[in-house]
Assembly symmetry: C2
Homo-oligomer: 147 residues x 2
């Protein structure tokens, strides 16, 4: 079911923090937003209402774990959640830690920049801390269990 022209079918879409057969969590490459996560469905499906009710909940449970991991590791002032997909119509959720002094706050990250916004200072091993938190909260991937 992989689409040849879809970047989320053809690549991981970021640095993998956790994955299973159904979905994956990646750390996005967004220099202004350390900790910007994406929860990506592994299948090429466009809208939430194209999923079965059980799969809708299954995907959101990963989104909410991503929110919980960011709150635990980064203590943001607000979490932003969004499923847009206008450019890449393959279900993926943006899970974004927002800080009152970040480059767009209180605007959405897609809105107007605030001139005095700052990149939030984060520990050098942020990706490791996030991955540990995911693997503690969610079952490890089947391929990891089998080793």
């Amino acid at each position: 079911m992989k689409q040849p022209d879809c970047p989320l079918c053809q690549t991981d879409g970021g640095h993998i923090l956790w994955r299973d057969a159904f979905s994956r969590v990646v750390l996005a490459d967004e220099p202004d937003y350390p900790g910007f996560l994406r929860v990506i469905l592994n299948a090429h499906i466009k809208e939430m209402t194209d999923l079965s009710p059980a799969d809708q909940v299954k995907l959101m449970r990963v989104v909410w774990e991503a929110e919980a991991v960011l709150r635990e590791v980064m203590q943001p002032d607000k979490i932003n959640l969004a499923s847009l997909g206008n450019v890449v119509p393959h279900l993926h959720w943006h899970v974004i830690p927002r800080f009152a002094d970040d480059p767009h706050f209180p605007n959405p990250v897609w809105g107007q920049k605030i001139p005095h916004g700052n990149r939030h200072a984060v520990p050098a091993d942020l990706a490791v801390q996030l991955a540990h938190a995911f693997n503690r909260r969610l079952a490890p991937a089947p391929e990891t269990e089998a080793r």
Copy 2:
């Protein structure tokens, strides 16, 4: 639990299409985006992970019904879903019908405008059609049932 300084505690937040004791669906006043819906939790709660797991799913079921209603009534090219709350930290979901020729497509509605974008033509009774679809799909509000 109503907050005196919260507009979503103090007002409906738009034209009510459907409501029950837990949440409500309003048609937002967004002139560029006819059919822009908001699903608003009635309680003043900030993040999805502040809700119980059962209430997380309960709220999302209304979001997905909103997506289904928009697809049924307006046949958009894409649905955008977002819970931001940087300005008003009271849980509310934006459910936005997007069209390939709309004022921002394929950017998010909070992003850069496309000069040649169009307001999508809609029937004059759009709000009535949406409200009918919600009331057919979701149980009527308790106060309506009692009448």
